[in-house]
Structure formats: structure tokens, C-alpha cells
């Protein structure tokens, strides 16, 4: 069964409008990195934030008043995707709608704050207001409540490939249940401790920019991408790969090549996951082995590496590209840091 895209929405460091962000990407604009540091560490990092004004309209929503940035990004992207699909949610529609989330780091800001309270002030000082927001499925819960969804809600976790796993999960839900549509969202926020962790892994760049092929590292980014998927819609996703797991970087390159080989057919473009790390070489090798003359679009140097949100942002880019350029098909290429390679085809 081919799932189809009815609506799309995102919250990115370059804006929230589909056309606006597309134009800025095509103009070569890069989102502005910001320095982040903590008194608890001697390191300073660069990351790419979402401008707060992008989600300020949600600030007075009572359900979100205590939530972390990730829930704001997710809710804003999800609501935008529904609006783009022309869907005004009613209890009847909500009854037949599912919510699926893709998360890599999740509510890392509140998680770090909560544990900081435990360590610095003692367990008896830890705030009960923070803990529930540290749970991976808190953003999904907030969005389900905003939409009135009472049925299926799933939060999937993993590396960057989790967005593809979430889309696969949606395909499965549409095939095995009587739901009419699914809102699928990938969302992430950034905290200094997350940057410290990726620095320890030697995956983040000490510089203010991402250089593809340099292997100097990436810049972590905030944001969310959302799709409304159904059995009918304006863009199809005819093939979503199950994914190929790997245990080390050598296997990662092979996994990426297998994904490209097993996603059949001619494509007009490949929406790449290259991000300034080891991933670049693995992806380049996969493309050279399978579709060496293909047109490639890599947006992470401009938007940053938004981890669990990144594959959905790539899928949105591919779908917009098909609409803007009257093209037929694009391959979304995704290699995670430490779990899986994945991919899919978007087609008109």
C-alpha cells in the first residue's frame, strides 16, 4: 500500500512557512548558529536554534504552559501540517486519526534540569513539574490532547533513522487498522549537555558551519517536521524501506548502500543526509554505486542536524521539490549515527 501526503508543516531555524523555507534554502541561506555554554563545563558549542517567535502563538495554550521547547515545536509543526492539508479537526475526525512521533534526544532540556536539581540540591528538591516533561512521549501526549485524538499514539525513538521508522509505522497503521489519517512528527530541542555528548563522540563541529565532506562534525539543530498521511493525497510515498541495522561505522556504509540499492527506480533527485560527519562518505559511496548522475540536495549545512526531526524534514523537502519542479520522484536518504540506515521514495 502506498501512503500519501495530505499536508506538511515544519518549524525550522529558517522559518515555518513551506515556501518561505524552500526559497531561503534555494537562495543558499544558512541559519545562524548560536553559542551555547554552561558554568558546569569549560566547553562552548555552536548549535542552530529555532527563533522563539516561531512558536510564540502557542505560548498561552494551557496544555503547553509547562512544557519544554520540543513540545512547542512539535505542536506548531503538527497544526501547520493539518492546516496545509485543509483539515479542521473535529471529534469525529480525531476519532479516526493517529499520532506518531519520531524522537532521538527528546525533552533533553528538562531532563538535564531535573537531574541537575537532584545532583546539586538533593532529590527532595527535584521539581515534580519537570519530571513528566522528561518522558519521551510527552510531546505526543500534548499534541494528541490538542487534537482530541483518543486512539493510536506512538512515540518511536532512535537515531536519525527514527523518522523513517515512524513513517514505516504509519504505513503499517494505515494498513492494519481503520484509521483514516495519521499525523507524523519528528521534533528535537538542544541543550548544552547534548552538545557535550556529541562533542565527546566527536560528531559536532567546533566551527560555526557544517562543511560536507570535511568530517569535522555537524551542528545540532532544533526544529520539527510534520506530515499528514493518508491513503489519498497529493504526493505518494510508494516505498518506505524497513531499515538496515548496523553495529559500527564500517557496517553503516554498507547499510547505506543497501538502502539505495533496495529502493528501486529512477529518481529526479536524492535528498541527502550528509551532515559534515562520517555519514557524508558513506552516503556518497552509496550514491556513486547506485545513481552516480543523480541530482543531490543536502540541506543540513543550512538547517543543521535536527536528529529525530531530520528525516521528516528531508521528506518534506523532497515533496516540496516535486511540486515546485514538476518532477516525478525523489529518494530520501537517511543514515543515523548509531542504529540504522533508512530511506524512502516520494513520488507524484
Amino acid at each position: 500500500m502506498s501512503v500519501r501526503i495530505q499536508g506538511m508543516g515544519w518549524v525550522t531555524p529558517l522559518g515555518t512557512g513551506l515556501d518561505e523555507v524552500w526559497e531561503r534554502l534555494m537562495n543558499g541561506e544558512r541559519a545562524e548558529p548560536r553559542e551555547i555554554a554552561s558554568a558546569d563545563s569549560t566547553h562552548k558549542h555552536f548549535y542552530i536554534p529555532v527563533p522563539p517567535k516561531s512558536v510564540e502563538s502557542l505560548a498561552r495554550n494551557p496544555r503547553l504552559r509547562r512544557s519544554s521547547a520540543i513540545s512547542y515545536f512539535a505542536a506548531a509543526a503538527g497544526l501547520a501540517a493539518l492546516e496545509n492539508a485543509g483539515i479542521r479537526m473535529t471529534p469525529e475526525l480525531a476519532e479516526r486519526t493517529a499520532v506518531v512521533f519520531a524522537i532521538s534526544s527528546g525533552g533533553v532540556i528538562y531532563t538535564r534540569k531535573f537531574y541537575e536539581q537532584i545532583v546539586k540540591q538533593g532529590a527532595n528538591a527535584a521539581s515534580p513539574l519537570l519530571f513528566p516533561e522528561t518522558v519521551y512521549n510527552a510531546p505526543a501526549s500534548h499534541l494528541a490532547a490538542l487534537l482530541g485524538v483518543t486512539g493510536m499514539s506512538y512515540t518511536l525513538v532512535g537515531d536519525q533513522s527514527v523518522g523513517i521508522a515512524a513513517l514505516k509505522c504509519v504505513e503499517q497503521l494505515l494498513e492494519t487498522s481503520d484509521i483514516d489519517r495519521c499525523v507524523v512528527i519528528g521534533a528535537e530541542e538542544v541543550d548544552w549537555v547534548l552538545c557535550e555528548a556529541y562533542r565527546e563522540w566527536r560528531l559536532v563541529s567546533p566551527a560555526r558551519c557544517i562543511e560536507i565532506g570535511s568530517n569535522r562534525g555537524t551542528l545540532l539543530a532544533e526544529g520539527a517536521g510534520a506530515l499528514v498521511l493518508a491513503r489519498e493525497g497529493r504526493i505518494g510515498i510508494p516505498r518506505i524501506h524497513d531499515g538496515v541495522a548496523f553495529l559500527n561505522r564500517r557496517e553503516a556504509a554498507k547499510a547505506m548502500t543497501r538502502i539505495h540499492q533496495e529502493l528501486p527506480g529512477d529518481v529526479d533527485a536524492i535528498i541527502c543526509c550528509a551532515n559534515g560527519t562520517f555519514i557524508d562518505a558513506a552516503e556518497r559511496a552509496a550514491i556513486e554505486a547506485t545513481r552516480p548522475k543523480s541530482c543531490r540536495l543536502a540541506a543540513k549545512p543550512q538547517l543543521g542536524e535536527a536528529l529525530g526531526a531530520s528525516a521528516l524534514m528531508q521528506t518534506i523537502l523532497g515533496a516540496i521539490g516535486l511540486e515546485k519542479h514538476n518532477a516525478n520522484a525523489a529518494l530520501i536518504s537517511v543514515l543515523g549515527f548509531n542504529q540504522q540506515a533508512g530511506g524512502l521514495i516520494v513520488a507524484r
Binding site: 537531574y115 522528561t134 482530541g148 525513538v157
Partner: protein, 400 residues
């Protein structure tokens, strides 16, 4: 919202488990039969500033038995738990080659994240940081278990709070039942961490006393830990290759209750919908159910809503109910998977697992609680409930 009718039956062909109740199915069965209280004082971190101080914990020496190489010794406890469960499962059915893994968890290798944060604060243990981080992510124990078993499969890792394990099994069931996959390996894992322990303590959801699900004098939950895996296969395929059929998964229900991030709707509508949908999916009536393995955390809110939902739905027959968390605590993302294995054992061995520490049923409902001692019972159909933060509710149906 409901699952499409199953196009074929789904067999359980192997299972593996490790929890405070024991290593493997045999020890788990013995502990359940004996109604053993496996909750003990916390030893892994300082709880002097917490209200609660106990949990169901897996002894380190149990896990060390699976850390047979230098590399495995560095793994997180969660990975060792998954390897232990996988080891038992593979020994039962060496020919089971999953096309997909669906695994539930809530916190991955959280204690390594805690260690990393503390090392940043104290500027120490710099050499250990990389290993901690490499084993921190929720996907790592899944990959480690695959490596230990010698296969590789794509994975979907579900983090639906305390319903994760049941969601994982239910989703896997729907994939095999629909004919999309022949073999799916599913389950869940979670290891106790300071952050999560203090989290429940801060919410005053954890008790200083014994955990007493459905009791009038219940005062809250106790945390636990563990891992459980179940191998699901299309029934006919399993029979044709001569696999040992342990039981069948026949239904799955899921619902979302939007009342509050951490509290269920007082009416019990969330749990009730999950159970109703699971029974509909299985093509069963409430009166067909012989035993309910309840979520039963012993918090005021959970038991009030689950008790009300069970009473509403099963009033005709007063189906026996127990919460096996009374013996081992609440293993969060692993709970649903472990309790599915417990339900499987109950079906196979024809007994009702007990709800220990039970004195007097909450007068709010009339439930047939399996009080304190296990007993023999003829059973063909059981359900297992799991509910979580975010209003996620899930129920699966198992049958002989």
C-alpha cells in the same frame, strides 16, 4: 478506531525473561507460584532524601553471567538484561529469524547519562565518558541483543511510557496478524535509574511501604526493572516448520486519554476503551476472559480508574484479577512485556498469579483479586493491561 480483522492466527513460539522474579521462565514461574516478594532496599544510588527507598532489582551477579567478554562487561545493565532474555528465547527456537524487532522502553541506558552528567560536573572519569555515551541510547540494548543472537533486523523502538512493552507486543501482533510480516520479535526492557526513581518520588507516586495494588490501604508504586522478549510468528508457518507453539496472541487494543499528562481520567474511560478494543480485536466477549493481569501500580489514581473499568466491563463474571507488580515492582517500559510472559506462564501452567501484600479490597469496586497466594485455574483466555504517562493505554489478549 479499531484494528482490521486478523487475516491469520499469531503464535508465540518462544519467550525469554529476566526480572527480580528470576532468570528465565522456570525461575519466574516458581516465584509467581510462591508469591515471592522480590522488592528490596535500593542499593544502586543514594535514596536518603527520597520518600521511598525500595525497588524490585535484578542482582548484578545475575547479569554478570551474561557479560562473558570484555566488551560485554562495559555494556549497560539494560543491554545485559536484553541479552539474557534473548539468550533464553534463542535457546528455545534457534530457527526463529525475525524480519523486524518491535521493542518498548522508557529510559534506555539512563544511568550512563547520569554518570556522564556527573563526570562533567566533577571533571572526572573522562576516559569512561565515551563508553557511557555509546551505551546510553535506547537503541543500543536492542542492537546488543541482536548481536548476541547473531542476527540483524530493522527495529522500531516504542517509547510510550509505561505502556511501551504492551504497545510493542500489540503492534507486532497486528503486523503478523495482517500478513505483513511472518516473524516479529517483540518485548521491552528498562533498568532502574536515579532520575526516574526520584521522578516518581517527586510526584509522590512512590510508596514508603509495601506495594498493595487494589488494596484499600494502598499508598503508591514501587519501581522494578527487567526485560522480556516474545517471538511471534504466523501460526500456520510456525506449525509447518515444527515450532513449539506456546500460546497465541489474539487481540490488541490501544487508547489515548487526554485528561492529564500524568493522571488518567477518573471515569476509567481510557483503560476501558483499551480493553474493549482488545476484546473486539480478538473476537471475544468480556465473559470469555479467565484472568486479568492488571496494570495495578497501586497508586490511588491508576487503581481507581483501572478498578472501575474492570468492574464495568467484567461485572458479569467477576474475572480474577491480579497485579504481579506487587511482587517485583513496576518495570516501566518492560512491564508490559514481562507481564505478557507472566500471562503466558499462567496460561501454560494453568494457574492464577497472586496479588501479594493484599489485605482488603478498595470498597470503590468489587473485584475478584487473587489475594496473596497463587491458585490452580482452568484458563483459555487472559488479558494483560498497561497504562502510562501521556494517557497511553494498551491491552493484549493471549489464548491457549
Amino acid at each position: 478506531m479499531s484494528l482490521k480483522p486478523a487475516s491469520r492466527e499469531v503464535a508465540i513460539v518462544a519467550a525469554g525473561v529476566i526480572s527480580p522474579l528470576g532468570r528465565g521462565l522456570a525461575e519466574t514461574h516458581a516465584a509467581l507460584r510462591a508469591g515471592r516478594d522480590c522488592v528490596s532496599p535500593i542499593t544502586r544510588f543514594d535514596v536518603s532524601k527520597c520518600r521511598s527507598s525500595t525497588a524490585g532489582q535484578i542482582p548484578n551477579e545475575w547479569l554478570d553471567a551474561f557479560a562473558t567478554t570484555r566488551r560485554r562487561k562495559r555494556l549497560h545493565r539494560a543491554s545485559k538484561m536484553m541479552i539474557a532474555a534473548m539468550d533464553e528465547l534463542v535457546q528455545q527456537d534457534r530457527d526463529f529469524a525475525p524480519e523486524l524487532m518491535v521493542i518498548g522502553t522508557t529510559s534506555g541506558g539512563m544511568t550512563f547519562g547520569e554518570a556522564f552528567y556527573r563526570s562533567l560536573l566533577h571533571s572526572d572519569n573522562k576516559r569512561k565518558r565515551a563508553a557511557w555515551l555509546a551505551n546510553y541510547n535506547p537503541q543500543k540494548p536492542v542492537l546488543d541483543a541482536m548481536e548476541a543472537a547473531g542476527f540483524s533486523a530493522p527495529a522500531q523502538i516504542i517509547a510510550n511510557a509505561c505502556a511501551s512493552g504492551t504497545n510493542a507486543i500489540g503492534h507486532a501482533f497486528s503486523l503478523v496478524a495482517s500478513g505483513k510480516y511472518e516473524r516479529v520479535l517483540c518485548g521491552g526492557y528498562d533498568a532502574i535509574s536515579e532520575l526516574v526513581f526520584v521522578g516518581f518520588d517527586s510526584l509522590q507516586a512512590a510508596t514508603q511501604e509495601k506495594i498493595r495494588p487494589f488494596d484499600k490501604a494502598r499508598t503508591g508504586l514501587v519501581l522494578g526493572e527487567g526485560a522480556a522478549l516474545i517471538a511471534l510468528e504466523a501460526f500456520d508457518e510456525a506449525v509447518s516448520r515444527g515450532a513449539n507453539i506456546l500460546a497465541k496472541v489474539t487481540g490488541y487494543g490501544i487508547s489515548t486519554d487526554n485528561y492529564h499528562l500524568t493522571q488518567p481520567h477518573p471515569s476509567g474511560i481510557g483503560p476501558r476503551q483499551a480493553m474493549e478494543r482488545a476484546l473486539a480485536s480478538a473476537g471475544r466477549k468480556a465473559s470469555d476472559v479467565d484472568y486479568i493481569n492488571a496494570h495495578g501500580t497501586a497508586t490511588q489514581f491508576n487503581d481507581a480508574t483501572e478498578g472501575a473499568a474492570i468492574e464495568q466491563l467484567f461485572s458479569e463474571r467477576r474475572t480474577p484479577v491480579s497485579s504481579t507488580k506487587s511482587m517485583m515492582g513496576h518495570a516501566l517500559g518492560a512491564a508490559g512485556a514481562i507481564e505478557a510472559v507472566i500471562s503466558l506462564l499462567a496460561l501454560q501452567r494453568q494457574f492464577l498469579p497472586p496479588n501479594i501484600n493484599f489485605n482488603e479490597c478498595d470498597p470503590a469496586w468489587e473485584l475478584d483479586v487473587v489475594a496473596n497466594e497463587s491458585c490452580d485455574a482452568e484458563m483459555r483466555c487472559v488479558i494483560s493491561n498497561s497504562f502510562g504517562f501521556g494517557g497511553t493505554n494498551a491491552t493484549i489478549v493471549l489464548e491457549k
